[in-house]
């Protein structure tokens, strides 16, 4: 009789694995959103020298619970002029791709919904499907701010999808597989991918911030410009599903991708002896990145929409293309060792970071010259 993982019959193990994975996914999405909103508020408060929620429950832990309960019991407004079914369906369309992505996230050695051999492709595809729900929400609301927010979001997400996928390609080139499990397996030991490919990690992380609508790229919900962006007309739990569950679920998915691709996923001390320890390592790593995203949110102001787009098309995409060229050439030239790739990638990181001030200065010079030229007639008239 064949023996599966943990010494369980594979026939029983297969459905059991599915149940465990779905249970973990739902648990992490629903409770994760509660926990992350609390963390977000608390951490922002600490960074801003405040106390944050602390009167509701011990240390304010029940704050998001109260929020959720309130949102559920709130009236669900649907204006007469909205586009009936689409308005109702949009939250589901935003939520479902996010939940479906959890199928391929490897929580531990054998705790994964399914080991798709195109796991990474599946994840990126689902990631871009969220845009559909957002645009539908913006359109169906019949509200000009919602529509503008939705279209902005479409432009932003589609643009940032490109550097994101280009960054993922270089990892796939080095590892040689699209399966999340294989990618994790290839990073056994201390040599995780981020040491070999730091440059695509940098690009991916920046693009992922934009992909999940996090500050400094949270233009679709920019409060000072568009009331609440594509969410303007939504109230109650419909809004809660869209914003809280989907946004924080997406953040978790993105952080899980980063963890799996660059930081060794569930690999960590002691996972060979106790495979379940992988869940702990995976969760810890994912939450570390979530905390970094919150830190960024509390630190940086919002970009302008043209800066956002030009940063993507003139900065990130060329950089990602150069990265692919370099990694592919070196992978062909030195098929046995990864050291040249690592050196080249670190050099690219240094060049990218050091190049930003130069580019910035040139841009400022051009802008100033343009301003001077347009002001010239007025200056002449005065003098």
């Amino acid at each position: 009789m064949p023996v599966g993982p943990f010494g369980i019959d594979p026939l029983i193990w297969a459905p059991l694995r599915l149940i465990i994975a779905v249970g973990l996914a739902l648990f992490l999405v629903l409770n994760g959103a509660l926990l992350q909103i609390y963390l977000e508020r608390k951490i922002q408060a600490i960074i801003q020298d405040r106390l944050g929620p602390y009167h509701v429950g011990p240390f304010g832990l029940l704050q998001t619970f109260a929020d959720a309960l309130k949102l559920i019991s709130k009236e669900d407004v649907r204006a007469a002029a909205t586009d009936g079914w689409f308005f109702v369906a949009a939250p589901a369309l935003v939520f479902c791709p996010m939940l479906a992505s959890w199928v391929v996230l490897p929580f531990a050695q054998d705790i994964v919904g399914t080991n798709l051999n195109i796991g990474l492709l599946y994840l990126t595809t689902l990631g871009s499907m969220t845009v559909l729900g957002i645009v539908i929400a913006g359109w169906a609301s019949n509200n000009k701010y919602a529509l503008m927010g939705g279209l902005r979001s479409a432009g932003q997400l589609i643009s940032y999808e490109i550097p994101q996928i280009l960054a993922l390609v270089s990892v796939v080139l080095v590892v040689g597989s699209l399966s999340m499990i294989d990618i994790t397996r290839s990073q056994a030991g201390p040599l995780v991918n981020v040491l070999i490919l730091p440059f695509p990690f940098l690009i991916y992380f920046i693009a992922a911030l934009a992909e999940t609508n996090r500050t400094p790229f949270d233009l679709p919900e920019a409060e000072s410009e568009l009331v609440a962006g594509w969410l303007t007309e939504y109230s109650g739990m419909r809004w809660g599903t869209m914003l809280a569950l989907s946004e924080y679920g997406n953040v978790t998915v993105v952080c899980a991708i980063v963890t799996t691709l660059w930081f060794g996923g569930w690999q960590g001390p002691g996972v060979d002896a106790i495979p379940l320890l992988g869940v702990l390592w995976f969760t810890l790593k994912v939450y570390a990145f979530i905390l970094i995203m919150m830190w960024i949110r509390a630190t940086l102001p919002r970009l302008r929409i043209d800066q956002l787009m030009s940063f993507c098309w003139k900065g990130l995409i060329p950089a990602a293309l150069v990265n692919i060229l370099v990694v592919a050439t070196l992978a062909l030239a030195f098929p046995t060792t990864k050291i040249p790739i690592a050196i080249a990638s670190w050099v690219l990181v240094v060049l990218f970071v050091a190049g930003i001030p130069f580019v910035q200065r040139r841009r400022l010079r051009v802008l100033r010259a343009r301003a001077r030229a347009s002001a010239a007639p007025a200056v002449r008239a005065v003098s």
Partner: protein
């Protein structure tokens, strides 16, 4: 002032009353919620989870204010609503500055879960009318109030929003926001300090807790 015909003791007492700090003064009667706030509430369109007497905490172990393990649905929902009233940032004039200050690090309404200022009325619970309401703004205010989903509350912050304040009898100013929307809590002052606003929010919290 007629100080001349007062006895020295009386004069001393008067003098002390005039110079003592505001919080040393003898307290007025403490606010009785049932009588002062709930009974005097203007007619509103609100659909709360029930009237005050239905949801009043039952004496005994099972349903009291702080017990959320064994409770009635009404009490649980009222607890949740009272613990996360998200304000609609409706800053109209000088009072808005104090409203902002109330959510900043020094006063930090986030402690009570009230820092989530929503810019869309669809997601807000409490409308804090902070400032002077002109006749031109009044229809917008009423409209935003109607766009908020039930249950909803209104705080009139400052003298202007409460009664017209220093624009009393002005040709262009609304004489109190309660002429167009039902107000739950009045926060007097010109401008009220952030502490006063927080006090108002906490009073509102107690009121919501009682089913208002």
């Amino acid at each position: 002032m007629g100080d001349s015909d007062a006895t020295p003791a009386q004069a001393k007492k008067l003098n002390r009353l005039n110079t003592m700090a505001i919080d040393e003064k003898p307290r007025a009667r403490p606010i009785d919620f049932e009588e002062d706030v709930i009974q005097r509430r203007p007619v509103t369109t609100q659909a709360g989870m029930g009237t005050a007497d239905v949801t009043a905490p039952t004496p005994g172990v099972l349903a009291n204010d702080d017990n959320i393990v064994f409770t009635t649905v009404n009490n649980l929902v009222n607890w949740a609503r009272s613990r996360s009233p998200w304000p609609l940032g409706y800053g109209l004039a000088c009072c808005a500055i104090e409203m902002m200050a109330a959510s900043m690090s020094h006063h930090d309404t986030a402690r009570f879960g009230m820092e989530v200022f929503r810019s869309s009325p669809r997601q807000a619970d409490v409308m804090i009318v902070a400032g002077t309401v002109t006749h031109k703004m009044a229809p917008r205010l009423r409209r935003l109030y109607e766009q908020m989903p039930e249950p909803k509350w209104v705080i009139a912050m400052g003298n202007c929003a409460s009664s017209g304040g220093e624009f009393w009898d002005s040709y262009s100013t609304l004489q109190g926001v309660d002429t167009i929307v039902p107000v739950d809590v009045y926060v007097p002052g010109c401008p009220p300090r952030p502490e006063a606003l927080i006090e108002g929010l906490l009073r509102l919290r107690e009121k919501i807790m009682k089913g208002g």
